[in-house]
Amino acid sequence: VAQVPGGELLTSDQRQSIDRARTEASAASGLDFHVYVGGSGGEDPRAAAHRLLSTLPRAENAVLVFLDPAARALEIVTGSTAHRRLDDGACSLAALSMQAAFAAGDLAGGLVHGVHQLGDHAQQPASLHTGTP
């Protein structure tokens, strides 16, 4: 089977909206959101996701959304600092809604909404009156 350039299965519009969702979630929450779409290299998807997380800069503050479409596998892994703001329950909720979109064949839409959902959940409430004595 011929290799297809990576961008062709997600249109450039879709890739842009995924990247925008990631940037917005990062800005809203202060966590570093990363999205990976690709194979697990024969590894267990969860192990592959954890391995990729450890290669990220500031991994303890990172949230990695790992999607292996061929294995129909989705993993959301959080670094130790990020985990305090984004607990496993919130990750499960986002994973559920993304799973529903993926099952309907909508990779890009599921990613965009899932990342937004994670970012909203990790959002810091604005601290009031801390600037005034």
Partner: protein
Amino acid sequence: MQVVALTVVLAVTAVASVAVAGPSAASPPDTWPDSNAMSPLNALLLFGGGVLAAVLVITVLAMAPSTAKVQRHRPGRDWETESLWFGGPNSELVAQPAAGSHPALESSSARTGTAAIGQTVEGGGAGARW
């Protein structure tokens, strides 16, 4: 009853207008140039060919996008491409301190700094299969 009457009147009018009609009494003015009559073949080409060409062009324009559509991935099929990163190991950090957050609160997380690669950093997460 009124409907029947109306129908009869309309039918009679229609039939009469065709039956009674004769050739036009007026002839074209003599000053008009005497052009050659168009042959039936020319007329067909002019009035039929143009319409056909328009239909053809519109059909092609309508069908072109769907035939040129890029191949989409279906879940479960092999991912035959190189992987895609949004963010990723080589990215510049994107997280900005949330608007309105207090600098003193940020510094505590900043102090933990960069973890060595391979160090255990996992906090948690969730997974799903479909």
